[in-house]
Symmetry: D3
Subunit: 278 residues, 6 copies
Amino acid sequence: MTEVKNMKFETLTVELSSTGVLLVKFNRPDRLNAVNPQMWEDLKSCFTAIRTDGNVRSVVLAANGKVFCSGLDLKETKIISPGAYGDVARKGYYQRLAIIDLQDSISAIENCDKPVICAVQNACIGAGIDIITASDVRYCSEDAFFMVKEVDIGMAADVGTLQRLPKVVSNDSWVREICYTTRRIDSKEASEQGLISKVFPNSDTVLAEAIKTANIIASKSPVAIVSTKHLLNFSRDHTVEEGLKYTALWNALAHNTGDMKTAISSFFQKTQPKFSKL
Amino acid sequence: MTEVKNMKFETLTVELSSTGVLLVKFNRPDRLNAVNPQMWEDLKSCFTAIRTDGNVRSVVLAANGKVFCSGLDLKETKIISPGAYGDVARKGYYQRLAIIDLQDSISAIENCDKPVICAVQNACIGAGIDIITASDVRYCSEDAFFMVKEVDIGMAADVGTLQRLPKVVSNDSWVREICYTTRRIDSKEASEQGLISKVFPNSDTVLAEAIKTANIIASKSPVAIVSTKHLLNFSRDHTVEEGLKYTALWNALAHNTGDMKTAISSFFQKTQPKFSKL
Amino acid sequence: MTEVKNMKFETLTVELSSTGVLLVKFNRPDRLNAVNPQMWEDLKSCFTAIRTDGNVRSVVLAANGKVFCSGLDLKETKIISPGAYGDVARKGYYQRLAIIDLQDSISAIENCDKPVICAVQNACIGAGIDIITASDVRYCSEDAFFMVKEVDIGMAADVGTLQRLPKVVSNDSWVREICYTTRRIDSKEASEQGLISKVFPNSDTVLAEAIKTANIIASKSPVAIVSTKHLLNFSRDHTVEEGLKYTALWNALAHNTGDMKTAISSFFQKTQPKFSKL
Amino acid sequence: MTEVKNMKFETLTVELSSTGVLLVKFNRPDRLNAVNPQMWEDLKSCFTAIRTDGNVRSVVLAANGKVFCSGLDLKETKIISPGAYGDVARKGYYQRLAIIDLQDSISAIENCDKPVICAVQNACIGAGIDIITASDVRYCSEDAFFMVKEVDIGMAADVGTLQRLPKVVSNDSWVREICYTTRRIDSKEASEQGLISKVFPNSDTVLAEAIKTANIIASKSPVAIVSTKHLLNFSRDHTVEEGLKYTALWNALAHNTGDMKTAISSFFQKTQPKFSKL
Amino acid sequence: MTEVKNMKFETLTVELSSTGVLLVKFNRPDRLNAVNPQMWEDLKSCFTAIRTDGNVRSVVLAANGKVFCSGLDLKETKIISPGAYGDVARKGYYQRLAIIDLQDSISAIENCDKPVICAVQNACIGAGIDIITASDVRYCSEDAFFMVKEVDIGMAADVGTLQRLPKVVSNDSWVREICYTTRRIDSKEASEQGLISKVFPNSDTVLAEAIKTANIIASKSPVAIVSTKHLLNFSRDHTVEEGLKYTALWNALAHNTGDMKTAISSFFQKTQPKFSKL
Amino acid sequence: MTEVKNMKFETLTVELSSTGVLLVKFNRPDRLNAVNPQMWEDLKSCFTAIRTDGNVRSVVLAANGKVFCSGLDLKETKIISPGAYGDVARKGYYQRLAIIDLQDSISAIENCDKPVICAVQNACIGAGIDIITASDVRYCSEDAFFMVKEVDIGMAADVGTLQRLPKVVSNDSWVREICYTTRRIDSKEASEQGLISKVFPNSDTVLAEAIKTANIIASKSPVAIVSTKHLLNFSRDHTVEEGLKYTALWNALAHNTGDMKTAISSFFQKTQPKFSKL
């Protein structure tokens, strides 16, 4: 099992705090953190490794440079002609798999089981929306703005926005309007509509607060935390009854953790509990 | 394939702009746009035709007269006695099919694949709620008010409100309260709760703004727009993973549109792209 | 069929108004209404009986004492060692069933088919959240506060919060933050996020208003009311299309009620209809 | 409501017995009952009308001429070039709807709620397999043979075979082999594998026996029969638990039939009950 | 936790062997083991208790007297008139719950987690089919015969047959034919169609062989056995992928059993392993 | 994209015919082709590569040595103690992921989209059953025998057998009996029950016939073949209606293949069509 803190990524920086908070930052500032083929790969490797790295207890996802994420890097995204595959059906067969591959990069964030807090600053466009809606908690700075931009390049968003955005915010009329019109949403509107749960004055404060929340989470029982994230995700996609039954099975296993005893005795002794890594 | 602009409806008026925006208006002003048997039929014919009419790129749904929709026309709705069918079970067999038939009229709005913007003024009651929650975007005038009124005629809403209302707004406690109590909701409360995404001073301004939004949508790639609506609807009813897989297949087909090249080259050339009809 | 008003519970008080509103109150004030094994049993018996007691038309759920519910009673909750069962797998087999048993107590609230209005005052913690999110309408007093507290005892919430909380409020980022951090939410924040639909000055006023809403509901057709609750619950867990089809079948039966005629003729005669019990 | 016996179809003959058995026969014997565009339409109209025609209690589906059904009529099936639609994505948008339209013709057989007995003779190929697997009971003559032929025209079967064939027979290895290889299955193998439940010497005897079974069904309570078909179909597509819950609701309505009293008193009096039409 | 061997039932006899095989026998021989209201209750109590009685490792379900089960006891089944409930909708509300109650009696067999082997002799009719299809393994004597008889009392089977029969046998055409026609199936046909997996000469031999199979099962690891039954049931009602994921979680818990070490070391030492009760 | 024919596996041999049939053989004959950790890896790599290798049109899965597959290699499978992970909950967290990893190896066979024909000889035990039930077509030699063996090592099968076996054969009573008792099934019984679709005299003939079938499949349109496999798998796990809708979308893309024109013109010209690789 690879430790994430020792991994090197071309398009991401990673840094693990002593408390178990992993700070992941997009690192293509000169390209406004546009997502190129390498970044899709890096996101997948990084978050897949997070899942099984017990040293990581929570994650902050932020960006180097001014901009959070300017969307797909159109310059580096190659469009393949059907000719290369014989006919449109053959090309389509492979294209479907290629899209699933990109989707897996985004879903790796959701599936990593450790809570991910986004600290968004300035632009968050296209693929940026896919990324933040696959995360757990979304904070931003006042200068942040958001655009579901895919329609403007002649396509429907296909790596997560249309699936997750309506499930993380409240107002379906608003969701559809911004998806169809691609209009720019400022931080205030994003906050009012629940896309963002807290707005901070600038990029420094949003990052600091994201790390603060991440540290609180990292101080909790890792068994309780990964269970909570995993069960929230499972339950979103199942009926209440199925969610409950799966949870009962999950906890029949998870209740064998020593963390419960640690936590309860700390509670009665009013001390701060310490939990070993997952 | 019928062109909608040439269709005549007893209870609706239709008008297609040169930009591809279809304005559909309820046209029973003297009956406060109550939904009678003919209007159920007309809604189904109209929105079914919209689906396959490439000239229509987006739809505005509004009303002639003062009121948007006062609900079911109780005077024209006939209640059939079991005697006519031999016994309650036989009557029930046909009644189930009759309800499904009405539901199909409402669902036609959802299934037409072109975004539908509602411009609500004054009363929106009962069947009116079924209609606007099956639409994409909801705007209203300040004088608008809303009532989930079915309980007051001794029945549960059965053509869409109980399915869609909780999925288009945020606050389940509020949804249930208004469904059980049938109380009147004014435009301010409707907006705060997300049933309505924008409120405008009066019926003229709400219609003008709905048309404005519809025109923006009509200027986009029709392939991108119908794909986005279709995938939002599909994804609402499936797990994130199933939504993603279906989307990958859909776009493996949709990416064969010329609109992507048109859009991307316009983007780099900073021109306004023109897209042919669907 | 037992009449609920004649049942005695160790941990609950029940009182039926002449209008058919059942007031259920937690009754362990000295233990801050912590949920002990007896209370799990009592909740299940009480709400299961409500389902088939036609005299009950709506329910208000409140608390004796200062506090609404302080969560699981850790002192009375026994943790069983694997040794008692031979091994961890055997223990786990029975533990899964034990958790399902507790879940059934909470789900009984949802399944009782009569609307349940919560009147929350002061603390609503842990199991308290499970209870109010399984209810229909949530009101609270200004001094109310809320904590999803399970992570602090080393476990994921497992009797309903993780399934229902994200479905009753809007903002997924907020839901996840409060589940991971266990932080205290005051009545204002709870209201802004839609966990609570109305806040009242104090415990007296919140109870009075909950009873008022319950009385409005109790005055409606009981067939319409239980149908509406049942269909809202069914539809939450199914696709729109499946919800519609089930509703069509349900109403093909429910439309045989005399309440519709009563309601419609009252409507035309502008009188107040009276409906017999379910 | 149209009575089916009075409807005229270009490609089908229909004949209603005094006992309520409708005999539907393919009627393009000179084209070996190949399915042309008109036949898709006729199947849909015919079986949609059967659903609401209380005079029809059961259906026999057979063929005029030597052959049951030779599959899609390739001569009359037009293939549209993408050019007609602007691009492949646009064409695909309409083609998806066109396929769904054909699927609806086949599904009308399943959805008609009256049991359909097929009497297959000689060739049953391609679309013929779609048709018989959407029916309830399959009989054939000794000279019958079966081919899942679509792969041989370069496509996957898309109007029902791949969905229903694996659910009506037992042996998945056999199903896949015949779908991939398109090999010819004779009546003996079809019977051994359960595609056919009874084989008769020739086309006369298979038709006679199909009518005999249909007459037995027509003599039963129509409420019980349509309920049984409807619930078998619903349950095939749902979990056991969901199937049970839907059935409980269905029968809470259907038990209001007088047929139960008629049937039970006939049972005790050992007489032959008579049931009125649905 | 009640031990089943100490429970007394009016309509069932129970007997626990030293090996952990529970023999449950219908005990209304003078009424041909027709299912009366008491037997529904007894079946539910008995099989619910089996679930949590670690002494029971497998179950044989058989009958005292000549007949296995002659179906619903029509003499003791009361039909309630709508009048008693005010109207058909009110009656239907309670009737739905009453049917679900009966369904739960049958489903208790499926949910008891210990394998149930049926030893069928002579008649197995109506409710008898519901019972055996909710069991795991079906053996019968040569004189056994089977009838899905509900249609003959004017109703669709509603406590399990229509859900489970098509999932336990292969030939859908045959299933539908016997459900619609209610015709009598002898043991040979039942065996050929897979409703029965083995036929024995008479009632003594079928019981002896059922007990033999039950003893083999009782000698295996109880953790492995209940896991296998539970996972087969779960997987029947879910996609392959969902079944796999649930299984992974289940076994992450179940692998903590000592039975695996016991079994593997017995395997290498070629001894007969002994497993403690669940 | 790697070409499978150039890949080297420690535990498998692969060989591609000029016709596009890939022969994959288990290659641990001295260990009776028991599945060790390396073989799980190799299966995953091999079948994942098959999915995107257009040169492979169909697959035969067979074995070097006498035995097809003797199940899990118990000697090389390490059991990890909870100690290594801190506690049972932590160990369980990782064990669940480890089981999913093994499941993915088996599911790779199902997901490779090219039909897989198994040629089974002699023993097919435990993991061998998981493998063949994830394949498409199952042939065996007369000396073949089958055992669902997991219960005998104290566990429920967890990498596919309990999910897929009941869906590929017919007789649920038989499935459960063999899963609970672990008894040995010979080729005759396996064939009668539909686990195997054809039995051949010996290992040479079964391999020859498997290759023959694979060659027939390889001669068909690859678009039609992968579509058929993909849609059969999708449809198994969805309702008929969802299967149909997905199929309509799939074919709206796949119908753009040139193979249809090639196939149809060959049909009319009675020539043998040639299709280019996928």
